[in-house]
């Protein structure tokens, strides 16, 4: 039964991608930890962290793709959910520092001592336990998305209006988190982490484990989203994207369908943020920057929205390009990124993966058409305009 569920839920490309991710989760840590530094196959730790970061970005892009690619909701505030998850993880990591901070206060993080606070604010309680923090990583972004989406979808805010409103949301959060009074470290955010689950966060082993966790989590979410979009619900989701009014008239509660996708997507973004923070070692309000959210959109667009592999490929391609570009020609990165936005929307609306997929589908159709001489093969093209 499980096999049949699996068979129904994935096509071959998803299975390959999951296999690659699981393989990476085992291979990269092994190459990092078990080979000597001068071995030709050795993966240096900084690369492990860098690619671990890319994988969390890929997860964020996948989350966005679920709502944008499959439901037509262009969220310009997904980085906010990512950052909220990151903050939840950051709070756990801050509590783990304990008395090792520069002020040596066993209870209060350094910035609170600095602000002369006497006791822990109520919302910091419980974050010394990992399970609680892990729960919050999912619940806080999920709750925000639920409340926000409930209001927005119920009153049928859609299209560019919704995009702008999500942008306003992340902007409001940006301003809020910059305030010292909020109790999240203000401008500087949370940093100087020491341990995660008792392991030193700087150690090679921990970094490799975090990479593996990111890869496995991405694989898991890929399986989940794939199952969702191939389920009956997923079909309705696409229907909402392509003809919202018609779907509504057919008797579906469009707002519930959207709300589920939006909330789930926010939770995935939160998980991505939580995996991101220990790997980069800092979380600050800059993550709420509206520009960040829009960048996530371009990763998804480059890879190909409406395909599940696309956002993963896109996130890694664009961020890899960014790392190389900003090191080589820092002046030109924004030109390149800006150009990417323009060129992809103009010439590559299906993204790299979507275009390649369409090409192969055509090839296969041609080959099969030659073999069976049935010219009416339909290549499924769900990419209608909004």
């Amino acid at each position: 039964m499980i096999t049949s569920f699996l068979m129904r839920s994935f096509d071959r490309s998803i299975l390959i991608a999951v296999a690659i991710l699981v393989g990476l989760a085992m291979l990269v840590p092994a190459l990092n930890l078990l080979t000597a530094p001068d071995h030709p196959l050795h993966v240096p730790t900084y690369l492990v962290s860098l690619f671990g970061k890319y994988l969390t970005y890929a997860l964020l892009a996948l989350a966005l793709d679920l709502v944008w690619g499959f439901c037509g909701i262009l969220s310009l505030g997904h980085a906010a959910f990512f950052a909220l998850g990151g903050y939840a993880m950051g709070m756990y990591l801050m509590r783990q520092i304990g008395a090792r901070g520069s002020y040596g206060n066993p209870l209060l993080p350094d910035f609170m001592v600095f602000l002369n606070w006497k006791e822990l604010p109520w919302f910091w309680h419980g974050f010394d336990m990992f399970w609680f923090a892990a729960l919050m990583v999912v619940l806080v972004p999920g709750l925000l998305a639920f409340v926000f989406g409930w209001f927005a979808f119920r009153s049928r805010v859609n299209g560019v209006y919704l995009s702008i409103i999500t942008q306003a949301m992340t902007y409001a959060l940006l301003l809020a988190f910059f305030r010292n009074d909020m109790g999240f470290g203000g401008n500087n955010g949370l940093t100087d982490f020491k341990d995660i689950l008792g392991f030193n966060i700087q150690a090679n082993g921990t970094r490799a484990a975090l990479f593996a966790a990111s890869a496995l989590m991405l694989a898991l979410c890929l399986i989940l989203t794939s199952a969702i979009v191939r389920s009956k619900y997923g079909k309705v989701l696409v229907a909402v994207r392509d003809a919202e009014s018609r779907t509504r008239f057919l008797g579906y509660r469009v707002e519930h369908i959207k709300l589920f996708a939006f909330t789930l997507s926010a939770m995935m973004a939160g998980i991505a943020g939580a995996l991101y923070v220990p790997q980069v070692g800092i979380i600050n309000p800059g993550e709420f920057e509206p520009g960040n959210s829009i960048e996530v959109v371009i990763w998804t667009a480059v890879g190909g929205r409406g395909t599940l592999i696309g956002p993963i490929v896109g996130a890694i391609l664009v961020n890899g390009g960014k790392s190389i570009f900003t090191a080589a020609f820092p002046e030109f990165w924004l030109f390149a990124l800006g150009g990417l936005f323009v060129l992809v929307t103009l010439f590559l609306p299906k993204g790299v993966v979507g275009t390649a997929g369409a090409y192969f589908a055509r090839r296969r159709a041609e080959l099969r058409g030659q073999a069976a001489e049935t010219p009416n093969n339909l290549a499924v093209e769900p990419m209608a305009a909004e």
């Binding site: 560019v160 209006y161 306003a168 409001a172 936005f341």
Partner: protein, 538 residues
């Protein structure tokens, strides 16, 4: 009885001041000054006060010299002179006439002794004396300083000055200063009561502090008066503060209006969000910067005209850039508003980075022409000229745009396309042409907004980003396709923001406004002034 005394006193003051103005006063000055030489340190205070009371401008250099230790007494006859060292000798100046009195060897002279108490007395006497200066500004300054640091000893000097004062503004400050000083003096109660009434009437920034401190020390009979006066001043201040908030709100609203109005028409007509709109504002500001650079280096006399020159230029530059963007990118993306949003975001990144590469990442200096700098007082409001002109300018742009939309054939076409693109097209309107011109127009207006904003904001590559989200909020709040919505949206958001600020702080105020807009959208998803009809649901 007191009234009679008061009248007598004023009359006396008048006599004295008349006396002061006369040149004969100088003759009486000599002996007074000479007394300084022989007086004991403990009596100096009285002598200085006596000198100051003459109110003669010639006393000023004498007292200054006394404070500096440049006042000497001639040992032979006890006469006091202002001196200047010249080699081994001292050059003498007769203080009463101001004429030179030859030189004398140092040994023949003795310095008039001073200590800190004397210096203090000199300083306060000098403060009172500048009240009689010929320079109106010096008098005003002296009066203001007496108003801020009331000193009972100066009361008579102030009253003398009031009697002599002809300048209305100075007179007003002096009156207030007198009232303030009266409160700290030991004058009779009903005079104090008058003073309190006077303070309560004025807009009383200084009065409040004095009254509050007087409340602690005043007699029991005066306390109720003071308390009502304080209440009244606080009420007036609350009123003017509210007025000031409205003013700030209008000012912010006009800025928002300028930034959002171009966005509103492109959004209204074409249904697309132009994320590069903020960068058009920035380009307009940089155009102003360039115009001013040219003027500074080549035609400095034209500086006051720089904004007038920059306005059409900015309109043309940004309009042309907008046209290029529309023809080059946006027209290929029709029917895909979300993609347009992304593409224009990319363009905004490119424009920002171009400006950063050309002009550098730092702020560039754009000057205010003379007619835009400075401020004036209106009641209790401080109004800066640049803010006032920006409000006027924003309204002028609004009116011009309204005229364009309602009274020209271009406007007619734009409205037709806004309402129903397909029908408009089938009626023979060339919608692509309308789109291109609308986009150019919206961009051009953003450029003109940039000229205005260059006067109140830092001109840096990030200038536009600061306005873009706020302008979106205005458009979303006001509704699309209706300029009045933008107007109402801009000003109500501006005023709301400024009224929330004092209670919630600038940042929290802004957050609250954003949250309120998000909630507002629930009720009216299409904004305040929504277009009605089927076309909207497309």
């Amino acid at each position: 009885m007191y009234r009679i005394l008061q009248i007598l006193f004023v009359a006396l003051c008048l006599v004295i001041s008349a006396h002061v103005v006369g040149s004969r006063a100088a003759e009486g000055l000599g002996p007074l000054i000479d007394q300084l030489g022989s007086a004991k340190l403990s009596d100096m205070d009285d002598h200085i006060t006596a000198l100051a009371k003459t109110g003669d401008a010639k006393v000023i250099p004498v007292l200054e010299a006394l404070g500096e230790g440049e006042l000497y007494q001639r040992k032979s006859d006890g006469k006091v002179f202002l001196v200047k060292a010249q080699g081994a000798d001292l050059l003498l100046v007769d203080p009463a006439t101001g004429a030179g009195a030859g030189a004398a060897p140092k040994a023949a002279m003795q310095k008039v002794k001073v200590n800190n108490a004397v210096r203090r007395a000199v300083r306060s006497a000098l403060g009172g004396l500048t009240l009689f200066s010929d320079d109106t500004r010096a008098r005003l300054k002296a009066a203001q300083s007496m108003l801020q640091t009331p000193n009972a000893d100066a009361l008579e000097a102030i009253e003398t000055a009031i009697a002599a004062e002809r300048d209305g503004a100075v007179r007003q400050v002096l009156d207030e200063a007198r009232a303030v000083t009266l409160l700290v003096s030991d004058r009779p109660e009903d005079q104090k009561r008058h003073a309190i009434a006077l303070l309560a009437e004025g807009n009383g920034r200084n009065g409040l502090a004095v009254l509050t401190s007087a409340l602690a020390t005043a007699d029991a009979s005066l306390k109720p008066d003071i308390e009502t006066a304080i209440a009244r001043i606080e009420q007036t201040q609350a009123f003017w503060n509210a007025g000031q908030n409205v003013w700030y709100g209008l000012s912010l609203g006009s800025v928002l209006l300028l930034a959002a109005i171009g966005l509103a028409i492109t959004f209204g007509v074409m249904g697309i969000i132009n994320m590069a709109h903020g960068e058009m504002v920035m380009l307009g500001a940089y155009t102003t910067f360039l115009v001013q650079e040219v003027i500074r280096s080549s035609y400095p006399q034209l500086f006051d005209w720089s904004l007038a020159i920059a306005l059409p230029l900015a309109f043309l530059v940004t309009g042309a850039v907008g046209l290029a963007i529309e023809r080059g990118v946006i027209r290929f993306l029709y029917g895909r508003p979300l993609e347009t949003l992304l593409a224009t975001w990319g363009i905004s990144l490119i424009l920002q980075q171009s400006v950063r590469s050309i002009f550098g990442p730092t702020n560039r200096e754009v000057g205010n022409p003379s007619w835009m700098s400075g401020a004036f007082e209106l009641g209790g409001l401080t109004i800066t000229w640049n803010r006032l002109w920006i409000i006027v300018f924003a309204l002028a742009v609004f009116a011009a745009l309204l005229f364009l939309l309602k009274r020209t054939s271009m406007g007619l076409k734009m409205r037709a396309v806004t309402q129903n693109r397909r029908i408009a097209s089938s009626m023979g309107i060339r919608t692509p042409w309308v789109d291109a011109l609308t986009f150019a127009l919206g961009s051009g207006i953003a450029g003109m907004a940039g000229v205005a904003l260059s006067q109140i904001d830092n001109v840096s590559p990030n200038l536009g980003q600061g306005y873009i989200i706020d302008s979106f909020m205005v458009v979303v709040f006001g509704g699309v396709g209706n300029l009045w919505g933008t107007l109402v949206g801009a000003f109500s958001l501006g005023i709301l923001n400024k009224f929330l600020e004092p209670y919630a702080g600038a940042v929290l105020g802004k957050i609250l406004v954003l949250v309120l807009i998000i909630l507002f959208i629930q009720k009216k998803p299409r904004g305040l002034f929504a277009l009605k009809g089927r076309a909207v649901e497309a």
